[in-house]
Each structure stands twice: as structure tokens, then as C-alpha cells.
Amino acid sequence: MAAVIREAAALGPGLRAVWLEAPEAAQAAVPGQFVMVEGGPRRITRRPFSVSGIDREQGLIRLLVRVVGPASAWVGGLSPGQPVGLHGPLGRGFTLPPAGACAWVVGGGVGTAPLLFLAAELRRAGGAVWAALGGRTADEVVGADELKRSGAGVAVATEDGSAGERGLVTTLVERRLAGGGPPPATVYACGPRGMLVAVARRALEAGLRCQVSVEERMACGVGACAGCTWPDGRLAPDLALRRLASSREAPGEGGGGGPLRVCRDGPCFEVVRA
């Protein structure tokens, strides 16, 4: 229930990549799962971080930490050799398309973290990946170089135009959809809720499957405290979340909706019309 920091490095202003020695988590984790990490000696709850990459041989997992408060500052500031309390991997990850299928990943800010792990697994299985990455500024765009190195196609949009084109990541998705190329088996998205809603609507309108990883404040991470429940199970009034199949439990039934614990029923869900 603890891990040791192997390596920590700045990826940009206020963004750290932290590699942890956590052999069991590295073996077990699937893309979209998260770990709960101690937030420092005075913090009351651990904090959820998506697994953004793994090195199974060395037993390492990577977290991308955007410093937004004392807990993330503490985790981001850890030095190699330091131990940190951690449990996981937790939750339901994304379901992967058939090997070799084409997928799109759409990431907003540090929401790209789980998509980097996902894209790496998809590429390993021989799939084509196209990534649309966004942020308010160039500093907020995460993972573009890593995705390009993996052979994925990458498009970038920023609200201030400091990287890629000026605008929203949704615009990139719309243009790609209109482009008439081969459709992806699934559109995967993680980022701010407004972005998830916009991307999911576009994907469903185009008849594509869409899976999202959502974020909520959590205390236990294991389904015990009901702190992260979305009582109506909706991403938006017109969009319901449906549990994805996992090895642990049967998939959700019906059209989605109803109380969903983000930690245990998610954090990755299929989006369906409500």
C-alpha cells in the first residue's frame, strides 16, 4: 500500500511527471484506471490520479500531476527514493477496440493523462490512433510529443492560439468527422466536463461509440463512501453514462443513468443518449 518515487520531472509549468515503483499496480493496471495517492502528512483524503503510463518490466507507473493545490503540490514535489501511500489500480478502465482498430483520443489539459496510456496500448496492438489535444494555452497541452513519437496523428488547439490552432478541441473533432476519412471504432475523451459533453454529442451524432473518463472529488476510491456518486448518472441532461464491462462485474444494464459511483462504476463510462 505504498510506493517509492523513482523519478520526477517537470513537463511544463505546474506539470510534473512522476514515476513510482509500484510493481503490483504496474502489472494490473489497464488504461483508464487510477490510483489513490497520499496528499501529504496533513491531508485528510488521498487524491485520485489516472495512470498515464506503465513500465511493466521495471514495475513502474507514471502519474501526470497538475499542481492545483497543496495535495498535488506535495505529490508533484516528491523526490526519488521517497515513499508515498498509494492504493490501486482502481475503477473500471476503458474497453479497447479489436486489435488493430482505429481509435481517436481527445484530451483537454491534464485530462490527456489516461489517454497516453491508452494510446500506447492501442499502438502496441497495431491500432491507428488520432489525437486531438487542447488547452487554454500551450502550457496546458499535454502529451503531444509523446503521441507523435508513438506514431499517432496529433492535432492541437488552444484557446489563445499559442499552440496549434486557435479554438477548441471540439473544432478539431468536427473537422475530422467532416473530412470523410475512415471512422474510428471508438472516440475516447478525458478533460473538462464541458469538453466531454461537446465531444460526446458530436461522436454520437456521427454514429460513433464514445467513452469518457470523468472526474469527481473522492475520499475512499473503492466504492465505500459514496462521496463521488453522480446520483442521476448523467453527463448532461441528454447524455447518460453507462458502466463499461469489466472482468470484475457484469456490465451495466439498460440505457444507463441511475446513481453511479465514479470511483467504482467508472471513472470510464460509455456515453449513451438519455
Binding site: 500500500m1 496533513r42 485528510i44 465505500a224 463512501c225 459514496a226 463521488c228 446520483p231 442521476d232
Partner: protein, 324 residues
Amino acid sequence: MTGRRRAATGGVDLGVTAAGIRFPNPVLVASGTFGYGLDYTGIFDPGRLGGIIVKGTTLAPRAGNPAPRLCETPAGLLNAVGLENPGVEAVIAHHLPALAPLGLPVLVNIAGENEAEYEKLAERLTGQPGVRALEVNLSCPNVRKGGMAFGTDPAAVERLTRRLRKRTNLPLFVKLSPNVTDVVEIARAAEAGGADGLSLVNTLLGMAIEVETGRPALGNVTGGLSGPAIRPVAVRMVYQVAQAVKVPILGSGGISTSSDALEFLMAGASLVAVGTALFADPLSPLKIIAGLEEFCRDRGIRRVDRLTGVALPGRGGVAEACRG
């Protein structure tokens, strides 16, 4: 596995008998922080606990309050879950049978919107496998009906306890709210109504505002504060109530370490419940059990129950427990 729990560990007897129930050790997990008992199984064996108090259960399923339901505050956690639960029938059909093989005392926390609902819950849970007691939730601050509205009126507490007493032979632990002027008055009312034990304290009513948006931090606006921030309040209440009642006390409120648990025992609690500390470290209940055992062993205290109330007026402190 769990059948091999030993009441005596390294010469120290950690077992506690309270309200006619034998607990293998005095460290339980608090309602609402441990689901229906099995969510932490991937992290530790819940069979090592002293007992499990399962989530607040209502007659009908409840979806609970809108998100966000949590907000961390200095040394504390505000929550406004709003008694989300699958309803008593699902608990009986699915959750209790899964928990029974642990062989641990299970206390079911019950919450009604009116007296009749509490009565139905008590009747329905009586005789269910593994259920050893009911924790009567008269103190939830996050629901509009029932909950704290009952727990702040001594006459209502006594009347409801008396009615429940007639409906079940299960021991009743009445869970008290700290959101009262005089907790002793409420405790006496519960005892007079026939409570077999008292559970204190539930969360303190609180609130936080996000200054960037100028909006309340919780979807429910107000919430219940737990964690180390409330511990001195809870210890004081246990200390006051222990002097006023004869029934055993299950103490809770910000217990994070064995030293914290010892404070509650010495203030008069026979049992303790760990809650919010699970969120900083899921292994904290096991560390607390080990710490209690070590404390006793180091001082030659043979039974942990000798520590109950040693800090009360007229008692002899730790030295008294060492003599026993």
C-alpha cells in the same frame, strides 16, 4: 482466515463485551465510510476488525445528494452524501449475506423519515444473519426529513427508542448528534427509552464556500464535518455522557491513531469507530488495533477493556488499568 482471530494477542486481551455482544477487539469502522463491508477487501482483510457498522440504510433506495458531496477542510472533511443507499431489501438480499462469512459483529445503521419507518427497518433487520445490533441514526445532518431532526429533541429520542425497543430484540446503539446544546440530556433520553448503547458522535454541521466562484462548495450547501478537527469535541462529549449513563459507549470522531482511540476509551468509551482516517490511510484501523495492543503490552495492561473510563473523575488513570 477470520475464524483464527485471537481475542488475546501477545498476552493482551483485546476483546470487549458491550451490549451483550462479544467484539474481538474494540476497533470498528464507522457507518458511511466502509460501505457494506467488502469494498476494502482488496486492501486488507476486514475480518481483522472488531466489527463493522454498515452504511446508513433506509426503507426505500435513495440516490443521495447532488455532487459535489465532499470538501476537504483544515484537519477535516465535509460530506453531504445524503444517505445514498440501495434500500433495506437489497441490503438484506445482497449485502448482508456477503458479509456474514466474515463472522464479525455487524451493526446496521438505520435511518427513517418518521417513527414508522424506523420501526419497519428494525423489524425487517431482526433475525437477519450476521446482524448483531442496530445503530439508530438520529443524527444525519444531510437529509431534510428524519435524521438530526429527531436527534436534537430529547422527548423524540426517548419515544422513538422506546418504540424500537418493542419491535426488536437486537441491541440498539442510538447514534447521537453533536449539534445540540446539551448532549447529556439526549443521551439520558436514549437510555431511558431502552437503548443498549450509545454511539457518539455523528458529524458536526458545517459549510464551505468556494471563493473563486462565490458558491457553496457542496451540492447540498451544508454538510457534516468529520476528521481530526472534531476530535476534541467528540472526546468531551464522550467524557460528559459516560458520567451520566450506564450503557456502553461507542466513541467516534476523528480517530486516526491508536493514541486518539485511547483518548476515547479513557474518556469512557468501550468501543471506537474509525471513519475518515480510512481515507488518508485505509490501513489505519489495523494500525490502531496494533497500537492499542502495544500500549497495553508495554504497560502490563492485560485487558484493553480495563482502560475504559480511567480518565473520568474519581478514576485512577492508566495506573488503575495496570493494576487489573
